[in-house]
Amino acid sequence: MGVRYFGAEVRRVEDPRLVTGKGRYVDDIELPGMLEAVMVRSTEAHARIRSIDAAAARALPGVHAVFTLQDFPAEYHDRPMVQPYPAPVLLQPTTQHPLARDEVCFVGQAIAIVVAETRHIAEDAAGLVAVDYEPLPAVVDCREAVKTDAPLAHAGSPDNIVARLRVAFGEVETAFADAAHVFEERFLQHRGGCHAMECRGVIAEDRPLHDGLTIVSATQCPYLVRRNVAAYLGRDEGRVRVVAPDVGGGFGPKAGVYAEEIVVPLAAAALGRPVKWIEDRREHFVTTNTQRDQEWTLEAAVDADGKLLGVRGRVIHDNGAFVPYGLLLPMTSLTPLPGPYAVPALDVAMDVVFTNTAPNSPIRGAGRPNAAFAMERLIARVARELDLDQAEVRRRNYVPADGFPYDTGQKFRDGSAIKYDSGDFEGCLDKVVELSGYAGFAERQAEARAEGRYLGIGVSSCIEDTGVGPYEGATVRVQPDGKVQIQTGAASQGQGHETMLAQVCADRLDVALEDIYVRAADTGAFPQGVGTIGSRVAVNASTAVFDAAESVRDKALQLAAERLEASVEDLEVEDGVIGVAGVPEMKVTYGELAKQLAPMAGGPLPKGFSPGLEATSYRTSEGMPTASGSNIAEVEVDIGTGEVRVLRYSVAHDCGKMINPMMVDGQIVGGVVHGIGNALFERLVYDEAGQPLNNNYGEYLLPIATEMPPIAVTHQETPSPFNPLGIKGAGEGGTIPATAAVVAAIENALEPFDVVIRSYPVSPEELCDLIEGGGASERSA
């Protein structure tokens, strides 16, 4: 078997269509007879709906229907959406009604859907729907929501507590009793919105006498949508097909199930016509899940050398108005907390609370960037208090390179230990120290300081638990023309899965990459799938493709051996041709074998062979591979204006064996920029009444080209023992440590002013206040 493609910087097979405008995103699809929909959304953060008057909207020429919840069949009038990730610890697993019943709990919540000949008419009509609200008290700040006398985000609920979580292991009390030092840190984290450049979108077509309901959605998880929508509508899953076409970025929030994925099908079913709904950017700001505030209060117990003995504390997590995605976001903020450090004891509790703001679910990295930021804050504090170098304090605390597999002390839900499979955290740090010119920084800083410029450097390390199971299957099928088709459930939102899976398959079969095509993310084309979240597709789907391709190769060799009257051991494969070694004329192609295995009526099927040169595998990684990385940011702060410029950014990353280093670098660099955006720019602002204040790209700042530094990336390859390819996920390792690195660099630059940053994103205005005031301050949410 060759390794022509694995590990090579293969150009992407997706690109020819995408650079020529031939991509096919949801909004590019038109079905015959299709109508277009616009949602009517709440303008209030919390209110009771007294009445909805849609008469004027319905009377507008070109409007086919306006549906409120009451206009759908009675069975849906008291049926909130299905909780996709139920958990016993969810005290209030509250989901929304797909259209509001009698109460709205955040600005943007869907109240009605207008369906018309065109989007333009639907927009006109939506503006004519009059909703009479009785305002109710709103709670916006999670630190208020947790209090017993806080306004209730949902009228009639006992309190605002969604869940109380706790992660604990080791002897925490002893750790603190024995500590040479105890440091407390408090900080507020805020990650903002998703902002895939393509907003969400849904097309639904219901053909009850034919193939049932088809939903085209810009989703990361078509199978989750199928499960959830079928359950909600009371339909047979086999007659609900969900397709994700080209999707313009996901970054987490597109992994959930949204009201429109229920409402648009209901409208299409009622009208007997296909219906399309495309989210606009303002809707994206207020209705696509966000990742807002977390307040952390942590204490670190440290010995005299700066080694962590224990960590304890409390977190308040803003879940927004509903629970669209179980507890996956808050849990991923807690369990990865120790990161790359050997923390012997830990006890952290988290209150997950409702507020009257957009619902929350994971954004790139989920809670891991928050966990990394929290742990890096403690490490930074230890370094500052004990006057240790930023790199040195980390070296003292890392899980050692000979300590793998490393038992973190935590347990999975099934009681098994959470372990890190492999890694070399200090090795990664060495690489980034080298790459960033860390050793020469003090000189650069001193020179700049002499000119009145303030340079700073920040180190940040992380791990990423990647490749969550339980599977992501694939079928590999050789067609009679010799082309190889891969079918998988795994949806792509730009990661390049088609290329990646083709690379793995091409090597295993010894065929040319050009002879492979991938069909993915269509529940009608592959029976079972999970979805694209948590850096899991490379790990799971590649393993399945690898295994399926091996079965196909074995079957082909068996049949070729019979056909060529040779033994399997004497056969060799090159570029899709199987031949007998040393006998050039003795050969047969995969395509010829595929044809032999798929005869038409009356044709002979080779004895002992099943039809088709194909195999399906659900083989998966035997555990979650632990990726890791260390980053170093170098910044300059203008002490007059508070402007922060990231001058250079260096990454050493370890995601095991890389299938396509070019695409891995793409994930890392893009991820870092997202993390820099979190550090410096991205803040969703709500006023005290729960009105969102910055729902446009003039006021909500995303990273742009001129603000981003050169980003240098180097790799360490510590193969995962969990899967045959030795791979670990790479989708989020750029984002996870980045915010902490930038914030540490800013503090380092402003050391002469004793500036301690206790919240992000860090605005110039706040920095000016900190520089003038000295010491720490904290923004209100």
Binding site: D15, R17, V19, H120, E198, G248, G249, M663, G698
Partner: protein
Amino acid sequence: MKHTHRISLTVNGRPVETEVEDRLHLADFLRRELKLTGTHLGCEHGVCGACTVLVDGRAVRSCLMLAVQARGSDVTTVEGLAAEDGTLSPLQEAFREHHALQCGFCTPGMLTSLTAFLRDNPAPTDREVREAISGNICRCTGYQPIVAAALAATGDEAIEGEN
């Protein structure tokens, strides 16, 4: 009251003559009327740049311009950047070579913006390229490979190809 106007213009080298509603913006006209869905709408308030097309050679946000304003213009969309025979432009090739796209949604706007920029600035610096795309938001790539692709597409051979 629905008002319409008769307009004629050239789109990707082909003459178009049609009736358009006055409120129809150019992006919707291209996407909905001409089925040129390569032009993407990312924000519809003129910041993200995904909808950028060339109007008489200038990079323009087609969400901020009415179709009727394009009367008499020569419009080029992403579909018009490759040669008639499908050969990619050097910039399109460079995007592929340098992994300057992931999800591909901002890509049409990046390509049109840079096509105009590189025509007028055939030997730009890294900084100038960054300025040129500072009105185009990409959430996937971190911009670095886009800048690399633009710089790579400025060789002698590439400039010839841009014409």
